[in-house]
Symmetry: C2
Subunit: 193 residues, 2 copies
Amino acid sequence: MNVLEERIMKDGRVIDSSTLNVGGFLNHQLDIRLIKWIAEEIKRRFADTEVTKILTIESSGIPIAVMLGDLYDVPVVFAKKGSSKTTNDDKYVSSAYSFTHQKMNDVFVLKQYLNPDDKVLVVDDFLADGEAARAMIDITVQAGGEVVGLAVAVEKASQRGGKELRMEGYHLESIAIVESLDDTNGQIKLRRQ
Amino acid sequence: MNVLEERIMKDGRVIDSSTLNVGGFLNHQLDIRLIKWIAEEIKRRFADTEVTKILTIESSGIPIAVMLGDLYDVPVVFAKKGSSKTTNDDKYVSSAYSFTHQKMNDVFVLKQYLNPDDKVLVVDDFLADGEAARAMIDITVQAGGEVVGLAVAVEKASQRGGKELRMEGYHLESIAIVESLDDTNGQIKLRRQ
């Protein structure tokens, strides 16, 4: 098991059969050494890939994206949800269903922050049905850029996102893959990688 | 002028007399080297202060908080807005008016991530009326912890937050202080520090 997998087994909590709480180290309280390790592991897995921009979505993808931006020395862009007073410029807009908040969110990136020559690594903390990933792919395509890969800390194999994205030929790397969550005994089953 | 001040003068855009857009480097697209510099400057200004936890609020404070967590080698906690399916545990809850979204937001931190012995450095990208800072102070006090300081990238001197917090005795460090924004000619006036 890698560092993240060990941590999930130790400190992850099963809320129900589709919900794993990793708030203690990944997306509410952050273990920065772990976040850094995840970023290093992502960069290692994309060793042969040129990346000019890291794209994530607020909020929980930002810590890993920031550490990756530091490692690659490229700008990080985070897609924003909803509309904003300070952003009346032209935007690339997409929408994504939020599993956590159980509603559709409009997400956008200002056009000036994504370019046709950008080679974009899409990053997030979780991959479930792939809604957020799809929105970021959509936004990158609208900008004429290229999605060179997708990287997430935790993929939930019981939901369709990872399987579909791989079938479509995307280079997807998930640092930990949760096979199943048993809410009767709190057991977490990870896929061997 | 310091690195952030120079960047604001070069790339900041005046939207109106109370709104400065720094989305190109601070809170939409992120210049990671600049974010790192800001974190280093904050740590320098709090050189004599013991910090056991970095507290910020989603989303724009997260990048600076992550870099500070790395420098201090302490956990980062980000307060979340609204309610969440994955968090049914006990929370410390406060509320803050969002200048950007022009509405009240409930913000919370799960109780297990803040402790009575925590020495908390509160971090954000902007300080205007101090609503977000107040919510984070409130949450820290509820936890029995100590706010050892507040640090923001940009303070807007035309709004009351910074003045009030200093009068109340908080150690507040703002890496750049915007004195005024002129929306007739786009001029930005910074306070000399």
